[in-house]
Symmetry: D2
Subunit: 285 residues, 4 copies
């Protein structure tokens, strides 16, 4: 056990896992990068996009693996539809639909420092859409309201949103996000293309069904994102470890973290102005 | 409108539909056959198998179409799994499972004259298994109880049964029958073979689902066999009419009616003796 | 059989069904209204919204039933989710998602005179969202592309669209429309609310499933909108007839037709300008 | 690492896991029981039922936990339907249906020493039906054939079976077993009762669906029983450990192992004679 990050940088551990509060990520990343450690860093890198750019710039000089915690990329259902697209099963993709609904909102105290729904919740899906599509969106239009809890609105945030993102190819992506689903953690993706459609379906807790009266009642969804996504954390850690061991493995990088945040920034602007906003990307020198 | 069957036999109608009480079927069939009418006759032909044989024998001299009301042969789901078998999709069939459950039993007064569960309810599925398999079972073992209503037991009948039927090929068929399903009319078939399995799934009333709390609640089954099977009656009538018009159409014949009843007789004997019983078939001269 | 509309107006028929080409609807409606006939008129009333207003204005003086052909209102699955909302099952609605994809586009010659995707295809769903929500949208943002066929784009139309509509309550509605789905006619609706979610699921042709290799293959969707929606036409006609007979029945009216078109006009403008557009409604004097 | 069982008995380990070949189980159990170890023993205890009785008799003097490897009792889907019955959701159970199909048969060399399909494969489901029903069957009728591989028949065994088991209450249980399912490891249970039906559905590998052409193709079943049942092994080990730690936990005991085998013996006899056979149970003194 170390008393400070510096002890860890000086030690001979191969990798570090950064899962502390968001405002500590950038400094810890910087230290770990300088120390040459492999890194697993929970999202976001930082709420201030300039700090993120700084870390990305710093990481340019190094080549240790840095994995940002977009673990949904390791979900077997989502991997399944990505394969279907890559294998040509659905042809050229034309429309993507992502549903992302948490069972309940975070505490108001957290919401106030979270950066808002798009930087905190939807950011996972800005990453997911890039990973699925294999291309970066160029424009976003966001509509959002505080329907779940007016206090969220008073805090300057929204809890119910719909977004449309455009791509160079003309393809369109829709994301809907809610901070409250009465029926559990709801995540579902449809990828529609010229030759078919692939769906990452809602995953039930169990495959148990009761036939009673005039209804057919099945087990519902998971009570939270962790229960639904638990295996992805093991898969993500495994990806980092296998990379350290020399295997060529796909994983979400710092640049992926930055791009997701740049989309989030444009979405925040779109919500503010009720206008579609072009997404500008930045690359390190 | 006619005052008597004889008026109908003498008239110039092309076809008659016999849907009167069972004990009138054999005589009406006999008259209609003699009159050269095409016939749709509700099952069963008669509860006395010798009377059925007599009608079959009589029909040997004629060639007008006589369709016995096993309308499930026209159900699109059941047709679908039959196609899968005929197309070689599932290879050689090895096991068949038929579930047949009514929402509630008929009136006790009807049960007492019905001939019992196997001659009245299961007989549809003795026909269905022959139609699906394309071969006749050679032996049957039946287990049955009066679990729904002791009065049914006191009347000498059963309301909950399981049967196993054997075939020359070695293939096995299981039927389960109940006179009461709390959740609606339940009919489902699985055809398992050397290359796969085809399922005629439970058909819901609608495709409506509610996600609420920790459950996923979908519309249930139909409230009765008629609601579930309504289109099959139109298809069956249509098959008769198209046959009259000269088209070559498959439909359940008097001989199919007789064979289903011979299986029923063996099943009744098996239940009585708690022994497997060989099924003997009879052909007209 | 009549040789002209005038003969029909002068006859003693109670009702007329207008299913001729769109450019004849307004005149025929006008004549039928004047003649006091009950009317079933296929959508749209007219591509020129001013003509529609004129007919609506004219109908103000009368009270015969005039049903506009938005027959999806009679689909049992859609009715099911509307009931769930009206019964309070899902609480206050917050997000609605409508998927509407035709198997293939209409002929280019038709597309050129159709008024475009929003006036021709999406208009059914502008009506559906009003009928489901029980309120009128106040703003719409549309994104659309010609991804299926460049010729459609050259003709000034789109074939792949996503729209977001806003409501006074803050609720949001998303519609996605495509003129081509490789896998059949695809129509699906999700109604998400404060207490749950109701889904009008994709309806399969049959309930037949094949287990083979490492896949589970079920029958797919219907080959076209008519096969999927056939029963709704009978239900719609039945609604008109029952209304004529004095029963109080819900059905889509001329005003519903007009409102759907006003939403379509705003959507067309939004697509043209890539701006959200406020929807203004008009009422007759 | 120990060189012999005796070293293990003499050591201070709290528990042993016996997963060696079947013919070693009885001796190892005896030694472990004598040594006072807690035990996890893979099924079966022994193919010779008298040896099983001897071990059960010996274990009567002791009270350490002895868990027999019927790990399906820990499957969350099966637990779900057992809860539904225990909670009164489906009323009094009347019919149970168990489907159990392996992707492919074991090696012929194994089959020859396995004791046959009922002692080797179906035995898991003899245990499962007791665990679900909460009562012991009193009679069994078995029908079986070698349809998958004639060599299995030549070895005196069967690979395709249907069984009906009767209970004092009148309830009926059907099991179907196959040594070969083209489409993966297939395990499914239906519990039908006076107030409804609970189903432990087929569990797919993933929740991924492809809509293409006229079909809807979903991921299929698991490639083997281990992949399907993996979590149950952890749950079963966990049950033993928690018992050792003093918690009151349900698990399958030696007596459960014996009873399953007694049912298997009666099933073997029934197959041999083509007669229903009463199941006699034995209790240790």
């Amino acid at each position: 056990m170390a008393d400070s990050p510096e002890e860890i940088w000086a030690s001979n551990v191969d990798a570090v896992l950064i899962a502390s509060s968001t405002n500590t990520h950038a400094d810890l990343l910087s230290g770990a990068i300088q120390a040459g450690k492999a890194i697993y860093c929970e999202k976001p890198v930082d709420l201030d996009i300039n700090r993120v750019k700084a870390v990305v710039q710093q990481a340019q000089q190094t080549n240790q693996p840095i994995l940002v915690g977009f673990s949904r990329r390791f979900d077997s259902n989502h991997l399944g539809i990505r394969e279907a697209l890559r294998n040509g099963e659905i042809g050229k993709w034309e429309m993507m639909h992502i549903t992302a609904r948490d069972p309940k909102p975070p505490a108001l105290s957290y919401i106030k420092i979270s950066g808002g729904q798009y930087r905190d919740q939807t950011i996972h899906f800005f990453d997911m859409l890039r990973w699925l599509a294999g291309e970066d969106p160029i424009e976003v239009y966001a509509a959002g309201e505080a329907l779940v809890d007016p206090a969220i609105g008073e805090a300057g945030d929204v809890d119910t949103s719909m977004l449309i993102l455009k791509f160079v190819s003309g393809a369109l992506c829709h994301i809907n996000c809610s901070r409250r689903a009465d029926y559990g953690y709801d995540e579902r993706v449809e990828l529609f293309g010229s030759k078919g459609m692939a769906v990452s379906r809602r995953k039930p807790r169990r495959e148990v069904t009761l036939y009673k009266g005039n209804a057919v009642v099945s087990d519902g969804l998971h009570p939270g994102w962790f229960e639904r996504m638990e295996p992805t954390f093991y898969q993500a850690l495994d990806a980092l470890i296998r990379t350290i061991e020399g295997e060529k493995v796909e994983y979400p990088t710092l640049m992926d973290g930055l791009k997701a945040q740049m989309i989030a920034e444009a979405a925040v602007e779109s919500l503010r102005t009720n206008q579609p906003v072009k997404i500008t990307y930045w690359s390190p020198e």
